[in-house]
Symmetry: C2
Subunit: 345 residues, 2 copies
C-alpha cells in the first residue's frame, strides 16, 4: 500500500480577513500555506507543541484571546484566557506547570474593567489549580485595540498515562463528548445585542482538566485523542481528526447534546450547532472496549452529567465527517467556512 | 540592623494610559499595585519566571510586541518578537528550548506584509538558533488593531553556569554594557516621520545570547545580574537593580557608548539617552576581580567591539542611580516617567 501525502493548501489570498482567524478552512490555509513554510515548526492549529527538556516531556501552547464583548453571561475574556490555555494542555494529555499572560490594553480602558479581568484571571487560575508565573503589559493608543486582548501561554508536563495520537485512532473507536455544545458561541453572539433574542444561556467556559484526568484514569492508553472544540466547533475538530487519522467519523446527530436555546438560535441564524464554539467541552476518541467505562467516568465529574457517546470511527468515507439523524437522513459535516461568529474567543 | 520592607506602589489611576505600558514608573505601579495582588505570582516586570519541572529548572518569559511602524531601519516587529524574547531568556541565564508566537492581525492587512513578518520571525529564529514550536492566529476587525501585534513566549533551561541574583550584587561590582545605547528607540522614533531628522541610524535588534554565553564562560558565578535594557532604557533597568539590591549605582556618563546621532536627537527632543529603548544590548553586573576578563570576552563577540565598563556599585546613596560626568557634574538618574516614546517594542 502506498501512502499518498495530502496536498498542503496554498495561500493565495491577497489580504487577511476575519475568516483567517475563525479556526476553520481559511485558518488552516493560512497556517499550512503561509505560517508553517516561513516560520517552520508550527505543527498544527490546535495541539500543544511537545518539547523535550532533559528527560521531561513538556507541552507548550499559546493562544490570543480577542473575544467581544469582554464580559458575557457565564464568563469574560479573563476566564477564557485561563481556561482556554489550560484546556489546550489538558487535551494534549498534559498537566499544567504554569501559565504566563500578556496583556495588550487600549489606552483609556477604565481601571475597574481591567481590575475585573485580572480578578477573573486570578480566580480561574485558582479554580483550575494552576499558577500564573509571569506576564507582560503593553498599552496601545485609543482606537488601536478593542479594550483588552490577552495572550496566554501554558507550559505543562505530559501525563505519563497519556498516549494520544490521531494515528492510533481505528475504525470501531467511539466519540465521546462531555456536555452540551454551542453554549459559548451563542451566548457571546447574543451578548453583542445584535440579535433580538433573550435567553438564560451561559458560556460553558471552564477547565476540562478534571474530564481529561477522569478519562485517562478510566481508560489510560485506550484514550486515543482529545480536543476542546473551540473556534469552528465540534465539526471542525472532528474534520481535523478525520483528515489526520484517514478514516471517516459518523456522528449520531440526535445523540449530540444541544440545548433548545442553542438549537433555536442556530435555526434562526442559519448556523449549525456543530460549528459553534465551546469553551468547556472535551471531545475524545476512545477504544470501543472502554467506551462505557470512560463515559461513566466523565459523567461522574461535576458538570459532566450530560456527557454522551455521539459517534464512531468508520473505515469509510475516508477523511470525512458524516452526521446521521434518527429520521434517516445523512449529511456531510464540513469544517467551518468563513466566519459567521467573529471574535468568539 | 532591621530590614524595612519597601512599600508597594498603590494603583489609584482610574484608567489605563500609554505610560502604563512604557516600562517605567507607571508600569511598575500597574504591576505591583494591580496585577500582582489580583493575579498573583507575577514576580517582576522583566525577569523570566523560573519553574521546576522534575529536576529541570525552566525559565519562561512572555512579551507582546506592538511596535509602530511595523518595519524600521535595521529590523521589524518580527525581528523584535524573536530577539526580545530570546534576550529575556538570555539575561535570565537560560538557554532557549523553543518559542511560541501568537499573532493578532487587523483584518485587511496585506498578505505581503504578513509574509514579510513571518519571514522575519523565521530568519531571526534561525539566526538565534531557536525553534518556533507553535502558535496561534486571531484576526480582529479593521480599526481594532494596528496591522499586527505579536506575542512571543520563550521557554528555556537554566544554564548551570548561571547564578544570577540582585541580592548577590555588592559594592565594588562593575557595570558592563555590550554596546551603544539608544539606537533602537531613536530609530523607531525617526521611522515614524514625525520629526524632520534624517539619519543612517539602525535598530540594534539582535540576539544577546552570544554575549550572555561569553560572560558566563569568562566569569561564571561572578556574573551577578544581567538585563536587556528595552522599554525605559538603561536608566530604568539600573534603577530596578538599585532598588532590588539596595545599593547605589554610579554611572560614568562619558563611558556609556552613545552614537552622536542618538545624542543629537535626544538633545533636540529633550530626552535622556539613558531612557531610550535598546533591543540588542545586555547590561551586566560582574565582580571587580573578573571585570577586565569579562569585558574582553564581550568585545570578542561579533558586534561587541563597543562593549564598555560604565559604572560601579557603591554603598551609597542607597537604591539610587547617579551619573557622573567628566566635567564634574553628578546627577540622579530616575526611572522613565511618562511615555515619551510610545510603542517602541
Amino acid at each position: 500500500m502506498t501512502t499518498v501525502a495530502l496536498p498542503r493548501a496554498a495561500f493565495v489570498d491577497t489580504q487577511i480577513d476575519m475568516a483567517h482567524g475563525a479556526g476553520g478552512k481559511a485558518s488552516r490555509r493560512l497556517v499550512e500555506g503561509l505560517i508553517v513554510p516561513l516560520v517552520g515548526g508550527v505543527e498544527s492549529l490546535n495541539d500543544a507543541a511537545c518539547l523535550q527538556a532533559g528527560d521531561m516531556r513538556l507541552a507548550v501552547t499559546t493562544d490570543s484571546f480577542v473575544v467581544r464583548p469582554l464580559r458575557f453571561p457565564g464568563g469574560s475574556i479573563g476566564d477564557l484566557a485561563v481556561n482556554g490555555t489550560v484546556n489546550d494542555l489538558a487535551v494534549s494529555g498534559a498537566v499544567p506547570l504554569a501559565l504566563v499572560c500578556s496583556l495588550i490594553v487600549e489606552a483609556g480602558l477604565p481601571t475597574d474593567l481591567l481590575r475585573a479581568e485580572l480578578q477573573a484571571i486570578g480566580d480561574a487560575a485558582r479554580r483550575a489549580g494552576v499558577r500564573i508565573a509571569g506576564g507582560d503589559t503593553k498599552v496601545v493608543e485609543h482606537g488601536k485595540a478593542d479594550g483588552l486582548y490577552i495572550t496566554t501561554t501554558g507550559i505543562g508536563t505530559v501525563d505519563p498515562r497519556a498516549s494520544l495520537s490521531a494515528t492510533a485512532v481505528v475504525p470501531g473507536d467511539v466519540v465521546l463528548i462531555t456536555g452540551c455544545i454551542g453554549d459559548h458561541g451563542i451566548t457571546v453572539l447574543l451578548a453583542r445585542g445584535d440579535i433580538d433574542l433573550s435567553s438564560s444561556l451561559q458560556s460553558d467556559t471552564r477547565s476540562v482538566l478534571p474530564f481529561a484526568d477522569a478519562l485517562l484514569d478510566a481508560a489510560g492508553s485506550d484514550v486515543k485523542w482529545m480536543r476542546d472544540p473551540t473556534r469552528g466547533g465540534l465539526a471542525t475538530s472532528l474534520n481535523e481528526l478525520a483528515r489526520d487519522c484517514g478514516f471517516g467519523i459518523v456522528l449520531e446527530e440526535d445523540a449530540v447534546p444541544v440545548r433548545d436555546e442553542v438549537r433555536g438560535a442556530c435555526e434562526l441564524l442559519g448556523l449549525d450547532p456543530l460549528h459553534i464554539a465551546n469553551e468547556g467541552q472535551l471531545v475524545a476518541i476512545v477504544a470501543e472496549r472502554v467506551a462505557d467505562r470512560a463515559l461513566q467516568a466523565l459523567r461522574r465529574v461535576p458538570g459532566g452529567d450530560a456527557a454522551a457517546r455521539v459517534g464512531r470511527i468508520e473505515l469509510a468515507p475516508v477523511r470525512t465527517v458524516l452526521a446521521t439523524a434518527s429520521y434517516g437522513g445523512t449529511r456531510v459535516v464540513d469544517m467551518l467556512v468563513g466566519d459567521p461568529l467573529p471574535r468568539i474567543c
